[in-house]
Point group: C2
Chain length 307, copies 2
């Protein structure tokens, strides 16, 4: 089994009420790959970086079994850089700097070995680029999963709708689901988004958990109540990585297994926020992950016999 993911590999500088970082490694594809690497042994990144990037970071990903052949390195250019500051509630943030740099030149070209993945994970990036990646795939994957955000709804809705029409699973947050559908109720929003193409709609609500909609079925996965959220950066990407990683590992795209994938994704995201950047995602064991999933099960478990 295999996953191809497109997304940013970048530098971030993050400030939270608990501290601040210098430039650290970030980007959607980075978080997705670190999270998925605990489940899948065949993750392949498509991205672009400048020659300022810390190449030992690619080596660390390769040591986790991640294929970085699809990461283009542009000599004399700088990597994408984002800087943001979180407010006290950790749910809202101000963007301080967005330097697109090499992203302005990104024209994804898939290596031959990337053209037949079982799972295609379109990380949050310009939908015009997501479409280019979809068009280079030879055989329809088992699932195409798309992550996006309100920014693209504001400036590129037509392209976004074009890519949404070609995918199977969309992951967005609650406000984005409302913006995309024009419906306030998340139930109605999901129904409307089904008519745009996706068969599965995942609505992420951050500290309030995530909903999975499919036909007339719905599943709710809570977020783990944490004593401290240290840095929320990358939590959504990490969720996507755990989700697609679990599907790739288990080779099962039934609704029942997608529920499990939601829990594994949420478990990985709950680790992500415990330290800055990808730090926590680099030090996990399979036992850590199983113990965390067990916490989710205990959180949700109830034994009711209906009369």
């Amino acid at each position: 089994m295999s996953i191809v993911t497109v997304g940013t590999v970048a530098f971030d500088a993050i400030e939270t009420p608990f501290g601040k970082t210098d430039k650290i490694v970030g980007g959607a594809a980075t978080y997705i790959s670190w999270a998925a690497s605990y489940f899948s042994d065949n993750m392949n990144i498509v991205s672009i970086i400048g020659d300022d990037f810390d190449m030992s970071e690619l080596e660390k990903l390769r040591a986790r079994g991640v294929n970085t052949d699809g990461i283009e390195i542009i000599e004399g250019e700088k990597s994408f850089f984002w800087s943001g500051k979180y407010h006290m509630d950790m749910n809202t943030r101000d963007t301080l700097v967005t330097d697109l740099n090499v992203l302005l030149k990104f024209n994804p070209v898939l290596p031959g070995s990337y053209k037949n993945p079982d799972f295609l994970m379109l990380g949050n990036i310009d939908p015009a680029l997501q479409i280019k990646v979809v068009e280079q795939i030879d055989v329809k994957p088992k699932l195409v999963i798309l992550d996006t955000m309100n920014f693209w709804m504001d400036i590129a809705m037509d392209n976004l709708k074009a890519v949404i029409s070609k995918i199977d699973v969309i992951t967005i947050n609650d406000e984005e689901a409302r913006q995309l559908s024009g419906e306030y109720s998340l139930v109605k929003a999901a129904q409307k988004i089904f008519t745009m193409g996706p068969k599965f709609v995942i609505i992420k609500k951050g500290e309030h958990g995530a909903l999975l909609f499919h036909k007339d079925q719905v599943f709710f996965c809570p977020a783990l109540p944490l004593e401290e959220v240290f840095d929320p950066t990358g939590a959504g990407d990490t969720f996507a990585g755990g989700f697609v990683g679990w599907l790739d590992k288990t080779k099962d795209i039934s609704f029942d297994n997608m529920k499990r994938a939601l829990i594994y994704g949420s478990a990985m995201a709950s680790f992500c926020v415990e330290k800055f950047g990808t730090e926590k995602l680099r030090e996990l064991s399979q036992e850590d992950i199983q113990a965390r999933v067990n916490q989710f099960i205990n959180l949700m478990q109830v034994d009711i016999t209906l009369d």
Copy 2:
């Protein structure tokens, strides 16, 4: 088994994006009693009304097995009246009118038959009155449950802390848990509230569900994703009524059964918001409730075998 509840029996006038009502019957004790009446056959209200109240409403409660002997009727005075207008998101509202009327004279005196309940439900009301009710109970009930709100934290924190020190279960919303504890993390907030007296902390998050904390255990009950929320008034009281009603019916205050009580409370609250006021709570069958609880089970159910 039996429940005594203290709280308002009142008139409300409600405006939502979907419509508006004239004066309709509301008040915490009203919602609690309607909800609990589907489970318990021994609910007893302590409250106060004016002679302007629609006495046929008390008759309807009595027909559901609710004892209204503890409702004092003040001749020549008006019942408590609240009027509010909900915003488009249905999570925020403006209070338009608060006429305390008879509430200013409320000095709860428990009838003799009320002094030995299995469950004491202190509805949201001045904590000084909640204390007066607690002090008239002869034998410690199986559980004393308290509902309160930020208003009392703002103006009567000392009295509120005094009553909190005497109860077993507190139900508050997430912002109130933060205000009461001074902790942003709900995990830390619950731990802090444990030190104030309660052994169980229920944090209500409205459309985002509810958390039950006890010692180092935590359970999450989602809210049912609804196509439409018509009127949220009384949802928290209805939740409390379903919760205590289930406990009274089952005579079991184990953590496992409290989880079930959370689901029954949430199921009743999900009905409450579907129509104005108590309207929906008057027309349910046991089959409706079982079907709704089944929807909650489906929403939460996942089958994971850990490696």
